[in-house]
């Protein structure tokens, strides 16, 4: 109780205009910003993987397994910010036992479970099964048993079985694409369906969330590929990299168009909330929205990748451009999530005032915990790379 008093009392002075008395406490903070960012990376990485399997984009083959494992690593961490945010995480299982079917949040629990188990884990399993069997036959000790258990003690490596694996992967990916859309579109729907908040309430919200997710996912895989490949002392496949950058570029164009459309639509209709939202965007949210999300996170990467595509630049310069662009994109997409989640709560539902968000450093809602949560998927990814190496060289032919 003391903590709450100490945390909230200074906020009273920072309020401008009038807010409802209960609105002084901003409820969905940094953890809830982190959550759509993480699930967005999952959806984006998976869509990239699906480009290889379903649309047969051969150039992206080196990143196929890497994308799947990236998606898995982030998907494992994704529920953690939610658990940390709940008032009673020990009762969180209630969502699965007595879900309220009219609640987007409850139904999302099942979408998540479906996506994790029926799509991602299955696809990884089918794709790796043959290699798991071959590795476990060759290795000794702990790794042998890990691989044996992961393969569910399967042992059939006949042509028919391998053919079945390949077909399954294709089918699962085809199911997986709408599932990935649903996974992150649902998060957008959780915000977009709240009629009480005119900043969130929009038909475009799930679509914008989804496309910005794909942008961030592709950029992430690009970054991981560019970091891990030299670490393994292997040459970067420029065809693959150029293709990644191309897809990033095209999806960014779509995403930027959608966000611009949302903005134009809002200003054109000029509904009741336009005054307070304009005050918010031109004031408290100016840096995170106009500067970071739009300028740094969208326009500069778009411009630089366009330059790399248009002009004949040496490979080294292109790699630098792609790398920097991908980092700026990550900053921009994180900022997008911040602007939606926190921006949407900075103005009062009375439409007459603005409040403030003070981030702490320690504590579950603090910066440190979120930073750890961001590092965690990278650690998990490292472990996954060790157990299920995604490099083409690691693939074992049947012997």
């Amino acid at each position: 109780m003391e903590e709450i008093i100490q945390h909230l009392t200074p906020l009273l002075k920072e309020v401008s205009g009038y807010i409802f008395p209960n609105e002084i406490e901003l409820h969905w903070g940094l953890l809830i910003v982190l959550y759509p960012y993480l699930t967005g990376l999952v959806a984006g990485a998976f869509i990239l993987a699906s480009l290889v399997k379903v649309f047969n984009v051969k150039e992206l083959q080196p990143t196929y397994r890497m994308s799947l494992l990236t998606a898995l690593a982030f998907l494992i961490v994704a529920p953690l910010p939610l658990l940390g945010h709940l008032g009673h995480p020990e009762k969180s299982f209630e969502i699965f036992l007595t879900p309220n079917t009219s609640s987007a949040m409850a139904m999302f629990g099942f979408v998540y479970a479906w996506y994790l188990m029926a799509v991602l884990l299955l696809e990884i399993w089918f794709d790796y099964r043959k290699d798991l069997i071959m590795w476990s036959r060759k290795e000794k000790g702990l790794m042998k048993w890990i691989h044996k258990i992961l393969s569910l003690f399967s042992s059939d490596t006949s042509e028919k079985a391998l053919h079945f694996d390949k077909k399954s992967v294709k089918v699962i990916t085809i199911i997986g694409i709408p599932s990935a859309f649903l996974l992150h579109g649902y998060v957008g729907f959780i915000f977009g369906s709240v009629k009480a908040n005119p900043f969130w309430s929009s038909v475009l919200m799930p679509i914008v969330f989804l496309f910005s997710a794909i942008v961030s996912g592709i950029a992430l895989v690009l970054l991981i590929y560019m970091i891990v490949t030299p670490m393994r002392r292997k040459p970067i496949d420029m065809m693959c990299l150029n293709k990644l950058a191309s897809y990033l570029f095209y999806v960014m164009i779509i995403d930027f168009s959608l966000e611009t459309l949302d903005f134009i639509h809002r200003v054109y209709e000029s509904e009741e909330s336009i005054h307070i939202i304009s005050e918010l965007v031109s004031g408290k949210l100016f840096v995170s929205l106009v500067v970071i999300q739009v300028l740094i996170g969208m326009l500069i990467p778009l411009g630089s990748i366009a330059a790399a595509k248009l002009f004949k630049l040496p490979d080294e310069l292109k790699k630098l451009i792609y790398f920097v662009a991908a980092i700026l994109v990550q900053m921009g997409i994180f900022s997008t999530r911040w602007n939606v989640v926190i921006g949407g709560q900075l103005f009062s539902k009375s439409f007459r005032g603005l409040t403030t968000y003070k981030m702490t450093f320690f504590g579950l809602e603090g910066f440190l915990f979120s930073f750890i949560l961001l590092i965690m998927p990278i650690v998990i990814l490292y472990i996954l790379f060790k157990i299920l190496p995604p490099w083409d060289e690691a693939r074992q032919p049947v012997s």
Binding site: L97, T98, L152, S154, K160, S168
Partner: protein, 246 residues
Amino acid sequence: MISFWKKIPEQAKRLVVLAIILLAVFLVVRPQLVPSDFGELGHFRASALQDIIAQPVQYAGHEICTECHDEVAEKKGNSYHRNVACEVCHGPAAVHVEEEETDMLRIPRGRDFCIVCHEYLSSRPTGFPQIVSESHNPMKSCITCHNPHDPTPPEKPKDCAGCHASIARSKMVSHHVYVPCVRCHDTPEGHFTNPRVYHPTKPTKREFCGGCHASDDPSVAGIPQVDIESHGERYVCWQCHYPHLP
């Protein structure tokens, strides 16, 4: 059936078995964890209703006070405070009803409680008795002159300002400052005890205002004059001119 099972590839068989195990675990665990009365009355735990209505009552309600304090209640019942519940001033009394000896209620005797309702605030509705506490007997406690159970003021407030504070203050800084309220509003005696039932009258014709503002009588020289026939189309005077601040 067995031939169908044989046709399924080996890896798929393992997955199916795993899926069946997971589903079985879920089906066994779920009834253990879901509260038994969930869903009886709707999508919620039915015993929550009992938990909620078991909350102890703090405010006993105005009726129960009259059972012991019947004389005070009768006096208050005929006064201006008849609709003010006892617990508004004396605080929650549910415990006092059970243990009247040990749990005594508060009795506000200073100046700071009465002004919570009766301080002059421009947002308070006209007709509600308000005073400016800084200048209204600042050194005396309110109950010196006003018995809270029969708060009729010792003197009738002059100029209707006691209840119509906002209007009186507007009129005080207006050109109508010398016009007494009763010049325009005939006030029946009953208005002082039953204000919402007995209403003062209001002028109905333009000619009423014309008595001062459309007259060439020397006594009203210096007061703005208009041609009552043509000025202001079909409207009556007070549809444009606020009489308390013209």
